[in-house]
Amino acid sequence: MMAAARPRHEQLALSPEQLGQALRGMMLAREVDDRLWLLARQGKVHFVITSAGHEATQFGCAWAINVGRDYVVPYYRDMALAMAMGQTALDMMLHAMGKADDPASGGRQMFGHFSSRRLRLVSGSSSVGSHPIHAVGLALAFTIRGETDVAAITFFGEGATAEGAWHEAMNFAGIHQLPVVFVCENNQYAISVHQSNEIPVKDVAAKAEGYGMPGVIVDGNDIFAVYEAARDAMNRARSGGGPTLLECKTYRLRPHSNADDDLKYRSAEEVESWRQHDPIKRLAEYLVTNSLFSEAEMAGYQAAAREEVDRAMRDAERAPGPPANSLYDHLYG
């Protein structure tokens, strides 16, 4: 009889503790996301933009990030990423409610613009595709300063790959083989426009060749596949091996934002079929199958996540907004 293959987490040197932390984090991120939709319907937050469905991509990449050393240049879909890097449910609620202690912007940016200089999580605009060039500029700065063992990683949807600034970022990174990783969270839709009307090739990763870098495709709902590819790409970048375009195939399980009706451009059946591949469910099943956690422990996580979000919501609702005269603060240094 052949020996059974070692479990994937062992192959990847991930400990059961790391798995449990990731699962709890993903469940908490989903709970925050769900609650924000509820609060938006109640008129208690003006805007929510979802990361539901993208959690494995974001948590898998986060495992490959040296938080506080590597720079992370995110986009509006990356709430779970920000939480995987250490931001809390309360941080997200403060951000969504525009409170003074919103760590991203002190109540200046609408939800979805995650930022923390301490975490080297870089502030972004709402312009699609304008930010990957900042990751490339950071990577250029590392090389100018002779800093090694550090990389920049940037995230965007497949829609962003139609933008000119995205092309310019890829182009420059390829020319100079800079320490930067481009992560495309391909969920097939730029709001309503399907991938077939966004890009002329089936895989975003195919574009990498023209920029002189490898293009890697992974199942973005498989946290292990994402981690393995992201780890390899980050290590390659950190050791002078140049940039990578990593395409994570995934799906957003909610409308683009609370201003969107997704049934105008995709069917309920399609959404439901992707629910079967929910990345949180997949990780949970893996843990149970491998006898790392019990169903009862899972239920405990869920309850704990709900309690934490209840508390975060209450605390954020009570938290003060920025004073009116702060409108003029931080215009110039």
Binding site: S105, H113, L140, A141, E168, F172, Y332
Partner: protein
Amino acid sequence: MPQMTFIEAVRSAIYDAMAEDDSVIVLGEDVALKGGVFLATSGLLEQYGPTRVIDTPIAEASIVGLAIGASLHGLRPVAEIQFADYIHPAIDQILNEAALFRYRSNGDWSCPIVVRAPFGAGIHGALYHSQSSEALFTSTPGLKVVIPATPYDAKGLLVAAIRDPDPVIFFEHKQLYRSQKGEVPEGVYTVPIGRAAVTREGSGLSLFTYGLMVHHSLSAASTVAAEGIQVEVIDLRTLYPLDSNAILDSVKKTGKALIVHEDNLTGGIGGEISAIIGEQAFEYLDGPIRRLASPDVPPVAFNDDLEARYMLNPDKIAAAIRELAAY
């Protein structure tokens, strides 16, 4: 004190700033091996090497975007856009990104970059090597827009821009590059951003201008002085934020305001200056606020006669001064 042309002063500012602070880098198309199409960055590659003097692709959004990214890790990038006419692909990076980094992060991040761009007409550059692009940037809080007129100010303001903690758009008039020569100190010094300069004192009329038009206006002021009209010429030097105090101080003294700029009349900075004066010094005026600007046609047709018709010159300015002085 050495004499330098305007372009030598620009080069000297970058050279000295790079010597003073090794976080200063230069990037842009043709800036390294060629030393810039106007030679503003000539010699920098030889002195500071290819890690700090970087030839980029001809892709303006990335030139500015790279500068932004590098600044986030503590560098002080000086980006060159080869002609102001080509700054448009970088507008999203300048207006939505650089200008807002500090504000949108509640002071957590900042973006200390300089974007240099040669601008202006009168060099037979036709429609796409002649534009005055400053009005695109003079309504964006978070940015500073600087336009020097003399070699001394070019160096001092550029050093100040490089040291500035926020993004600065730095326009250099191409016709000044080799036509203007003056005393410029060796080593770094600064001229403060945000302060206008009284370039010629006078009591009869205030003339507000910047860039090449400072020199044409001074020439016109000399001409009309012989006719008994005393013009005060104010070189604005910074277009955003404007030095309102200097504008108001002068017009309160003279009672008359003429604004001269090469940019098109409509939407140019003259409208804003008129509004400041109209709102805050109305009772001091004894004549209408006048603007003399390039006509509202694209800058500028290639044909010599059409170019001459478009361009302001000392004669046109002198005529506008006489008309307002006689009011």
